[in-house]
């Protein structure tokens, strides 16, 4: 089912959580809403779910072209998954998953054997066949979230809405569940919206990513486009660490941006460090600090001309080949620079 939000706003005590946001998600697509806390991503999700009512001047929410604005959360056929899992503590895993099936009006309710069969299927889907009789308190965080997902899927929702589903889990489990979710989504092909503040997560699992800031969507595009061609400085900044070069300063070489009055951003891993400067294009800098960070080595440099700090990330191989030491004098070159005009700068 496709989802369309048209010009939705939500104001809490004069705070604009959503500012005329429009969004279209195609059938079977997985779209992430990515942004810092307070950017309105959860509010947008809750408006789509029907948990929050948007402001009066908002446009409608359409499911498959049909206006569902007047439907409450129970009638929109959505599956909602919370960061806090929101499992029913006093019910077993089995009963949790069966809840939606048992809660149906009796005319639509299936027989007990049908319900059991369905729950068993779902338990298999989330790989928790042996945990049916456990209680939520006896499960790990990852297992709880899988139960929550199975519970949401039990009522065969047309839309899956995930509110920071992996936010409370540790990094390894998060990685694992992320992959699993991607697989699951391609398997059951349900339209999914995922809210997250984790760039890596959004880029890895989504068909498209919507980067949000201050109640607005800054850019919505496939992950590669978002990363390689960010539309605004905010998107660039939010997607990773960066170095900022002001254009008005003469950079002492061709590496500086050509247009005046703008700003140039460069990712740390797009900074090349070399010991020689044969063509004069490098910027002279001094190594001020070296930090080992697992797969990469983060090198902090100070430019010799204006004492600005530049962060570079090297692979361990490059680092070894260069044999860098603190206080070494080197030359840096910028690759994949990205410039924005001042009017875009927030």
């Amino acid at each position: 089912m496709s989802i369309e939000v048209i010009s939705s706003s939500k104001t809490y005590n004069q705070f604009k959580a959503l500012d005329h946001v429009s969004l279209k998600v195609e059938t079977g697509e997985l779209v992430s809403l990515l942004g810092p806390s307070g950017c309105g991503k959860t509010t947008l999700l809750r408006v789509i779910a029907g948990i929050e009512t948007p402001d009066l001047d908002s446009g409608p929410v359409l499911f498959d072209g049909r206006d569902v604005s007047s439907y409450d959360v129970g009638n929109r056929r959505i599956g909602f998954v919370f960061q806090s899992y929101a499992l029913f503590k006093h019910m077993s895993v089995f009963e949790n998953i069966a809840f939606g099936l048992r809660a149906k009006p009796w005319r639509q309710r299936q027989g007990e054997s049908k319900i059991r069969e369905k729950v068993r299927e779902l338990l298999q889907l989330v790989q928790l066949q042996n945990f049916a009789e456990r209680y939520p308190a006896q499960l790990s965080g990852g297992q709880r979230q899988r139960v929550a997902l199975a519970r949401a899927l039990a009522v065969e929702p047309k839309v899956l809405l995930l509110d920071e589903p992996f936010g409370a889990l540790d990094a390894t489990v998060r990685h694992e569940l992320r992959r699993w979710l991607r697989k699951l989504q391609s398997q059951i092909h349900v339209t999914t919206i995922l809210v997250t503040h984790d760039q890596e997560e959004a880029l890895e699992v989504s068909d498209r990513v919507a980067v949000m800031n201050k109640g607005r969507i800054e850019q919505i595009a496939p992950p590669e486009t978002i990363y390689n061609h960010p539309a605004t400085p905010f998107v660039f900044k939010f997607l990773g660490t960066y170095n900022l070069f002001h254009a008005r300063k003469q950079n002492g070489g061709a590496a500086g941006p050509s247009n005046g009055g703008g700003e140039t951003f460069v990712r740390p891993h797009d900074i090349e460090i070399s010991r020689e400067n044969p063509d004069g294009s490098g910027i002279a800098a001094r190594v001020s600090h070296i930090a080992f960070a697992g797969s990469t080595v983060n090198v902090e440099l100070t430019r010799i001309d204006d004492q600005a700090v530049v962060d570079a990330a090297l692979s361990t191989h490059t680092y070894k080949d260069l044999g860098l030491r603190p206080d070494d004098k080197v030359f840096i070159r910028l690759h994949n620079t990205r410039s924005f005009d001042h009017e875009h700068v927030i």
């Binding site: 959360v73 599956g79 899992y85 503590k89 809840f99 809660a103 519970r151």
Partner: protein
């Protein structure tokens, strides 16, 4: 809590450990002494006094003197004594019945109010919410005597609603009985009725509601605030009705806190003196147990007073045990909430 802290103190490092041990012992000693002096000794004394004239006298407060054997000649004074004793027993039982009856009305109302208040305050954000929360605490800060006076000033003869209230006639629930299908299709009727509100059991119920209404609301609010409403929203999103969500999700989550509130509310409804005393008008038929105890005491019938008091003390002991259980369980409910 105490045990936890003691543990922390025990494992703390050597420097200053002597001083900490001293503080620990001193604080525990003060607490124990205090409780012994002001709670344990008086409580034990209640039972001691109640049984001071033997078990027969204790039972005598609740069971009237046995009928003298057929043909026994009794002197006038003996007969009068017998009648007084029967009257006392009858009054004691009346007080017990009234107290239970009042609690039976007050506690369910309290549960309904408590849920309504807790639900509105914790699940919604609206203008005046903070004021509402503060108002719920009001009875804790107002003297019960004032609570009683409020109703006298409202419903009394010269009160704001005095004209209406003093002429209000309402049936006595205790007189509700089966009369059979002798005339008409309705087989039940009230045989007695009251007129007015003040100085009737109606006022006692009102005063008791006033002094007890924070109990259930308070214990529910604090728990529901920490639990949030994610589970309810999840249930609703799965298509459950509001009714089903309430009974299958909300109530199980707060049942121990609810029990805790109900226990405190019941104990207070049984034991309230000040507010009830003001609105009862010191009429014998309006005596609840605490009022009855006071009257017995004023009549120099100390042993009987303590006998009735011992019943309230037993309720207190029972409450204490239940409270310990409910407190621990409701603490678990709060802890079992997954961390964000």
């Amino acid at each position: 809590m105490l045990a936890e802290n003691a543990h922390i103190l025990r494992v703390s490092g050597k420097p200053g450990a002597q001083g900490r041990i001293f503080v620990r012992r001193l604080s525990i000693a003060i607490t124990v002494t205090f409780l012994t002096l002001f709670v344990i000794i008086p409580a034990v004394n209640v039972f001691g006094q109640a049984f001071s004239k033997g078990i027969d006298a204790y039972v005598g407060a609740f069971v009237g003197p046995s009928q003298p054997a057929e043909g026994t000649k009794l002197s006038l004074s003996e007969r009068r004594k017998l009648n007084t004793q029967r009257g006392q027993v009858e009054k004691n039982w009346h007080a017990i019945r009234l107290t239970l009856g009042v609690a039976a009305i007050v506690v369910p109302l309290n549960i309904v109010f408590g849920f309504a208040a807790a639900w509105s305050v914790t699940k919604f954000r609206f203008f005046g919410r903070a004021v509402l929360v503060a108002l719920i605490d009001l009875p804790f800060s107002v003297s019960p005597v004032i609570a009683g006076l409020i109703y006298v000033l409202l419903f009394g003869r010269t009160g704001v609603l005095g004209d209406w209230a003093t002429h209000l006639t309402w049936p006595d629930p205790f007189s509700f009985h089966w009369k059979g299908f002798t005339d008409g299709w309705w087989p039940l009727e009230f045989t007695q009725s009251y007129t007015g509100i003040i100085f009737t059991p109606f006022a006692i119920v009102l005063a008791s509601i006033f002094v007890t209404f924070p109990f259930v609301a308070r214990s529910l609010i604090s728990l529901m605030e920490t639990q949030g409403s994610d589970e309810e929203v999840a249930a609703l999103s799965l298509g459950a009705s509001g009714w089903r969500t309430f009974w299958n999700v909300t109530v199980p989550n707060v049942k121990w806190a609810l029990l805790y509130g109900v226990i405190l509310c019941t104990a207070r409804a049984f034991g309230e003196f000040g507010a009830v005393s003001v609105v009862s008008g010191h009429i014998d038929s309006n005596d609840t147990m605490p009022l009855r105890i006071e009257k017995l005491w004023n009549e120099y019938n100390n042993q009987a007073a303590f006998s009735v008091a011992s019943l309230l003390a037993l309720v207190a002991v029972f409450t204490l045990v239940l409270q310990l259980v409910a407190d621990r369980q409701s603490g678990n409910d709060a802890l079992r909430r997954p961390k964000n």
